[in-house]
C-alpha cells in the first residue's frame, strides 16, 4: 500500500510540475468586467453586482448547496445517540456577556447582509456572523432550553419558506414579460442603501436563511457531540 501511495505522489508531483510550467506561459490580459455594471444593476460593489446580478443563477445553487448540506447533516445525525450530556456554563456574568455578544453579532450580521451592495460583505457572511453569536449562547444554555427556543421543526419551516420566497422572487419577472432573474425593481441612486433593485432584498433573505441554517448545523453538532 505504501508503494502505491508513493507512486501516486510521484505522479501527482510530475503533474504539478507540468501544470506550473504550462501556467507560467499563460499571458494574462485583464478583461473589462467593471464598466457598465453599476448602470445595469445599481450596486456600486461590482462583486455583488456579479454575485447577485449577472450570476444570480450560480448563487441560487450555492444557497441550495448550503441547504442540502444542512438538511443532510440533520437527517444523518438525527439517528445518532446523544453521547454525552451537554454541560452548559451557568455563571451569571458569562450568560449576560454571551447574550450581549449574540445581540451585537446579530446586528452586525444583519448590517453586513443588508449593505452587501454598497460595501464588502453580503448575505452569506452576514448570516454566518450572526450564527457565531448564537453558538456562544449555546454554550450557556441547557439542551432542553436550546431545543425549545431553537426548535428544529420551526427553523426548518422558516428556512424552507425563505427559500421558496427567494425562488418565487426570482421567477416573478416572467409574469411581467421579463427574463427570469432580471432585476425588475427600480435601481435607485447607486451608493444609497435603498438601491440596486432586488439585490438588497435577496441579500437579506439569504442572510436570514444562512443564519438559520448555520444555527441548525451548530445545534445538531453540539447536541450529538457536546462542546467541552
Amino acid at each position: 500500500m505504501k508503494n502505491i501511495r508513493l507512486i501516486s505522489v510521484i505522479l501527482f508531483g510530475m503533474f504539478i510540475v507540468m501544470l506550473l510550467i504550462s501556467a507560467e506561459t499563460i499571458s494574462y490580459i485583464q478583461p473589462d468586467n467593471v464598466t457598465g455594471a453599476v448602470k445595469d444593476t445599481g450596486a456600486i460593489n461590482v462583486i455583488a453586482a456579479y454575485y447577485l446580478g449577472y450570476r444570480l443563477f450560480d448563487t441560487l445553487f450555492e444557497i441550495l448547496v448550503f441547504t442540502v448540506a444542512v438538511q443532510g447533516v440533520v437527517h444523518l445525525l438525527g439517528h445518532m445517540p446523544t453521547l454525552e450530556q451537554h454541560k452548559p456554563m451557568r455563571e451569571k456574568a458569562i450568560i449576560i456577556y454571551t447574550d450581549l455578544i449574540f445581540g451585537a453579532s446579530l446586528i452586525t450580521g444583519m448590517y453586513i447582509a443588508v449593505a452587501g451592495h454598497i460595501s464588502a460583505g453580503g448575505g452569506f457572511v452576514g448570516g454566518i456572523v450572526g450564527a457565531t453569536g448564537a453558538v456562544l449562547v449555546f454554550l450557556t444554555m441547557p439542551m432542553e432550553d436550546i431545543e425549545k427556543e431553537f426548535n428544529h421543526t420551526y427553523m426548518a419551516i422558516w428556512e424552507m419558506c425563505i427559500l421558496a420566497t427567494i425562488f418565487a422572487l426570482v421567477l416573478l419577472p416572467i409574469f411581467i414579460g421579463m427574463y427570469p432573474m432580471k432585476n425588475f425593481l427600480p435601481l435607485g441612486t447607486p451608493g444609497h442603501i435603498v438601491s440596486g433593485g432586488i439585490i438588497p432584498i435577496v441579500d437579506t433573505l439569504i442572510g436570514i436563511k444562512v443564519l438559520i441554517g448555520a444555527v441548525t448545523i451548530a445545534q445538531t453538532f453540539i447536541k450529538h457531540r457536546g462542546v467541552f
Partner: protein, 112 residues
C-alpha cells in the same frame, strides 16, 4: 507570476496530503487545503494586474470582480462538503471505532 505559483503549491500540498495520509480526518483537512489553493488561484488571477477592490466609491483601476464573485460559491461548496464528510466520519468512527482508511478497506474486503 509568483502568485500563481503560490496557489499551485498550496494546491499540491493539499493533494499530497490526501494521497499520503491514512487518517480520514487528516485526509479531509488536506481536501480543505486543496480547495483553498484554488481560491488562492482565482483571487490571484483577479489581483494580478490591479489590487483595488471593485467597489466603486474609490478610484480605479480595479481588480477583476468576476473571479472573486464566482469563487465565493466555491468556498461555500467546500464548507458544505466538509461538514457532510465530517458527519460521515463521525458515524463511521462511532460504528467501527477506527479512522484509518486502510483498516476500513480491509474490513470491506473481509466481508466478501
Amino acid at each position: 507570476m509568483i502568485y500563481i505559483a503560490i496557489a499551485v503549491v498550496i494546491f499540491a500540498i493539499g493533494g499530497i496530503g490526501i494521497i499520503w495520509k491514512d487518517n480520514i480526518l487528516l485526509k479531509l483537512l488536506s481536501l480543505g487545503i486543496m480547495n483553498a489553493g484554488v481560491v488562492v488561484l482565482f483571487v490571484s488571477i483577479a489581483g494580478l494586474k490591479h489590487r483595488i477592490p471593485a467597489i466603486l466609491n474609490t478610484n480605479g483601476p480595479y481588480a477583476d470582480p468576476l473571479p472573486q464573485a464566482v469563487i465565493i460559491t466555491s468556498i461555500v461548496i467546500g464548507f458544505a462538503t466538509m461538514s457532510l464528510a465530517l458527519v460521515f466520519t463521525m458515524l463511521i468512527s462511532l460504528k467501527k471505532g477506527t479512522l484509518s482508511s486502510k483498516k476500513l478497506q480491509e474490513d470491506i474486503d473481509r466481508e466478501h
